[in-house]
């Protein structure tokens, strides 16, 4: 019985998320819609289980909310810095650098989350991962001190993610 439940729900959180997204897409709550949403939520994780061999554990709580708030705030602030760079900095004065961020994070999903965060936050684009998954190559468009920037990324984004993905 437990094996059946595990087979039907390889990723319970994914199932709930898919069902909610389906309801949002429908934009109305009807009995038929709810049934279909549940059907989508159950079948899609079962059909795609091969792509998600590991069950990721995410602690949904204050820490996650705080992390998301920090990211949104950084995106807004850094967008204005970026706009300033685009309009008033000459191209040859750009201090663009390749940064290597050594990772303490483990797990494909946690690293994917960090990569996405770095790509969304203006000023940095995560370009590559080392083949053993322990270092991240980041392109920064304008930093004065590359080492300080690496330390900032590790303290501001990686440390909270390590506590969220446990």
């Amino acid at each position: 019985m437990r094996r059946l439940v595990r087979w039907l729900f390889p990723h319970p959180a994914l199932a709930v998320m898919l069902a909610v997204i389906w309801l949002f897409l429908r934009n109305e709550i009807t009995p038929g819609g709810v049934v279909f949403a549940l059907l989508v939520g159950v079948t899609v994780p079962v059909l795609t289980r091969r792509f998600w061999p590991e069950r990721t554990r995410i602690r949904i709580g204050l820490r996650l909310v705080a992390f998301l708030a920090v990211v949104v705030w950084d995106i807004v602030i850094a967008n204005f810095e970026m706009a300033w760079l685009v309009m008033f900095r000459r191209s040859r004065d750009l201090r663009s650098h390749w940064l290597v961020v050594p990772l303490d994070l483990e797990g494909a999903d946690a690293i994917a989350m960090l990569t996405a965060t770095l790509c969304l936050a203006p000023g940095t684009v995560a370009s590559d991962l080392s083949a053993d998954g322990r270092a991240l190559l980041v392109h920064a468009i304008d930093v004065a001190d590359p080492e300080a920037e690496v330390a900032r990324i590790k303290a501001r984004y990686e440390a909270p993610l390590r506590r969220i993905f446990a």
Binding site: M82, V86, S91, C119, S127, D128, A131, R134, I141
Partner: protein
């Protein structure tokens, strides 16, 4: 209430449109692919985010209709924008690192730093497939 909502919506639209404009301008003026990549992947976040937030405020207040679609568009954009930026960067690294690109920029061949570990960057060295991404039974 409606006047206040109108002010908020107009500010959001202007901010979002300006961000999109700056992103396009960055695409036009920066010198190399890696620096240009910084422009448009940001325009989506604040630019589209601002416009969608404006839409999410406007329709409930003036149309009397709630819609979750803006939320979903934001979610999908934030999920997909980093993936495309990452893939473009990787393709660029590959073309320059293997000298397929006749126009060397960003100093990928010369300046790209070592990983500081035994393994090279994943673009230049395939990861051990079975160890990480195989089905559970084969591990």
């Amino acid at each position: 209430m409606k006047t206040f909502a109108e002010i908020v919506v107009s500010v959001l639209i202007v901010v979002g449109a300006s961000a999109a404009l700056v992103g396009s301008w960055a695409l036009a003026r920066f010198p190399s692919l890696m620096t240009r990549l910084h422009g448009p992947s940001k325009a989506t976040t604040l630019g589209v985010g601002g416009c969608l937030l404006a839409s999410a405020i406007y329709f409930p207040v003036f149309g009397g209709r709630y819609s979750a679609h803006e939320l979903l568009i934001t979610l999908f954009l934030f999920l997909t924008a980093p993936v495309s930026a990452h893939m473009i960067a990787k393709t660029h690294l590959h073309c320059q690192g293997r000298r397929l690109d006749p126009n060397p920029a960003d100093g990928v061949q010369e300046v790209i730093p070592p990983t500081g570990r035994e393994a090279d960057w994943a673009t230049f060295q395939a990861p051990e497939k079975k160890a990480q991404f195989g089905p559970p039974s084969s591990r």
